[in-house]
């Protein structure tokens, strides 16, 4: 972003009069808000529609299909409806904290987007403590959730808030360990550097680098699900026991803030996963050369598309898991974290460190074996899917738009 700001200062006479720091600040604010408005907000909205459609089809239903073409504008309708709703603060609630909590949750989530890369150039700020920063600022969300749980003066809210905080704190540890594996391999905390340390081809991604990093991805993925309060770890807002958890007393736009955070978090989980393990925006050098020859913007579009498609695949998997797995009990949740993920996480960190010492250049054979093994697993997976369809003699409809 600094390059962009420098260029702006060069070309704009008005900005030359201002101190450079101020220009940088302005550029960051403008670019940041633009991204918030043009990318994250619509994404969070549209993904709510996508999730409802996918969920519906997985339950043999159709899902929202009336507002706009195929129900695509459902998210706008929902948003407008929530905006127009009455803003209710319960009379026995702590009014100040009750109002403050959604903003903390919201801010914690969007501060994390600052260091999420989109292409090799487009990133709000390529912090050299990038991934560390993301873990740190998302802890603001926990404070917001605790605050909302307490301020609502409702036992369900409080229970939800406490559960959520306990869960997020616990799962930060395995997530941190899994991230440490990547940091060990790339030698940097900056997200752009981590991506640059990987290659464009799948076998050059960090996930296939060695068996330990392969397992680390799953540890990170499970922990991020838990940190994002996604099913099967949605005990903080378990509908069947806690009404709606910490958001029980919220209505209108404040309620939307919580859900906004949840859906934006979906992209965050996916983007961090893609950045750390799936090669981020990397495109093959030959393609890049060809693209640069056509137009200087084209490589960025390709990079963005690569990143976005990878991220969306992960988002789809997260949605898909939500409609597959039942919710964990609290004791199971804690057992999963402390008995399984954390010991395994330590094994992965030590294993990766040993691997790096033994094979500083990596072992191509292991990469190919892991990659083809994964492909084989996918093959078996689809074989099982076809098997289920044949077995039940189900009537098929591949067209997602009914």
């Amino acid at each position: 972003m600094q390059q962009l700001a420098d260029k702006l200062i060069q070309h704009c006479a008005l900005l030359q009069g201002l101190p450079h720091e101020l220009t940088y600040l302005l550029v960051e604010i403008v670019f940041g808000s633009l991204m918030l408005m043009l990318f994250v907000a619509p994404f969070a909205g549209i993904i709510s529609w996508v999730e409802r459609r996918v969920a519906a089809r997985m339950m043999d239903r159709i899902g929202p299909n009336r507002v706009g073409p195929q129900g695509f504008l459902q998210w706008l309708a929902d948003g407008v409806k929530s905006l127009l709703k009455e803003d209710i603060v319960p009379s026995s609630a702590d009014s100040f904290l009750f109002r403050l909590a959604p903003y903390l949750v919201f801010a914690g989530m969007f501060m994390a987007f600052v260091s999420i890369p989109f292409t090799s150039r487009v990133i709000i700020a390529d912090l050299n403590v990038g991934i560390f920063y993301i873990i740190a600022v998302t802890s603001l969300v926990v404070i917001g959730i605790l605050m909302s749980g307490w301020a609502s003066n409702n036992k369900f809210s409080l229970l939800g808030g406490m559960r959520s905080a306990a869960q997020i704190i616990s799962y930060e540890i395995p997530a941190g360990l899994a991230i440490l594996v990547v940091v060990l391999m790339s030698g940097s905390l900056s997200l752009q550097e981590i991506i640059k340390a990987q290659g464009a081809h799948p076998w050059n991604w960090f996930i296939f680098d060695n068996p330990f990093s392969f397992c680390s991805f799953f540890i990170l993925f499970i922990s991020s699900l838990a940190e994002g309060n996604r099913t099967p770890f949605d005990i903080p807002e378990a509908e069947s026991e806690l009404v709606s958890g910490y958001s029980t007393e919220y209505s209108g736009m404040r309620f939307v803030f919580f859900y906004f955070e949840e859906w934006a978090n979906l992209y965050l989980i996916a983007a961090v996963g893609v950045t750390l393990f799936f090669g981020g925006w990397q495109i093959p050098p030959s393609v890049r050369e060809w693209a640069v020859g056509v137009h200087f913007v084209l490589p960025h579009i390709l990079e963005f598309a690569t990143f976005f498609i990878k991220a969306m695949s992960l988002v789809f998997v997260i949605i898909w898991i939500r409609w597959t797995l039942p919710r964990l009990r609290v004791d199971q949740l804690m057992a999963m974290c402390w008995q399984y993920l954390i010991p395994l996480g330590f094994v992965m960190v030590l294993g990766t460190a040993t691997w790096i010492v033994l094979f500083p250049q990596g072992v191509p054979l292991v990469r190919y074996v892991l990659f083809s093994g994964t492909l084989g697993l996918f093959g078996y997976f689809f074989y099982r899917v076809v098997f289920h369809l044949r077995y039940t003699k189900a009537e098929l409809q591949f067209n997602p738009f009914v």
Binding site: L25, L127, F132, A136, S139, I143, L146, M162, A165
Partner: protein, 163 residues
């Protein structure tokens, strides 16, 4: 100039939230006000161009310590009914301690140079990492073992006897 403004704003904010922590009659408000204090401290670290320490500050204090403090407050039953005040100030001990502390601060502040000039921002990740694993390896390990001991001790204390 901008940096000074940010510094002043953050200083006011930090001191205000620290004052809330100390003087609020509601212990939960004190807990939440700690958030402002910790966040303000993180901003100071950023202004001193030590990014790693700033992020660690947020991660450890906001993400860990503060949440545990809030947990402890919320899990204590009827904490709202308790009469918690800071009224019982023992001036005979407090004032000499305050003077001693102020003296130490003045000593420290007058000792160093406060002009950082227009230094370029430099990442602190690599120096800290290298320092921890080379020069300060022994203290680092000693602290690690002390923490491990504390962890094991905590487990031993809370563990119920299994018969």
């Amino acid at each position: 100039m901008l940096k000074d403004l940010v510094f002043l704003g953050t200083a006011v904010f930090t001191i205000a939230s620290a004052a809330t922590v100390a003087f609020s009659r509601n212990i939960l408000y004190s807990g939440f006000a700690l958030l402002g204090t910790f966040a303000g401290a993180a901003v100071f670290f950023i202004l001193l161009s030590s990014d790693f320490v700033a992020v660690t500050q947020v991660l450890i204090y906001v993400g860990g310590v503060l949440i545990l403090v809030l947990f402890a407050i919320m899990l204590t039953s009827k904490i709202g009914d308790m009469n918690i005040t800071n009224r019982s100030i023992n001036y005979k001990i407090a004032i000499p301690l305050l003077l001693l502390f102020l003296g130490m601060l003045t000593q420290l502040m007058s000792g160093g140079s406060w002009d950082f000039g227009e230094e370029k921002f430099q990442s602190m990740v690599v120096p800290i990492g290298n320092g921890l694993l080379t020069e300060y390896l022994l203290p680092f390990e000693v602290i690690s073992i002390a923490l491990l001991g504390a962890l094991v001790g905590a487990v031993v204390i809370v563990r119920r006897e299994i018969k």
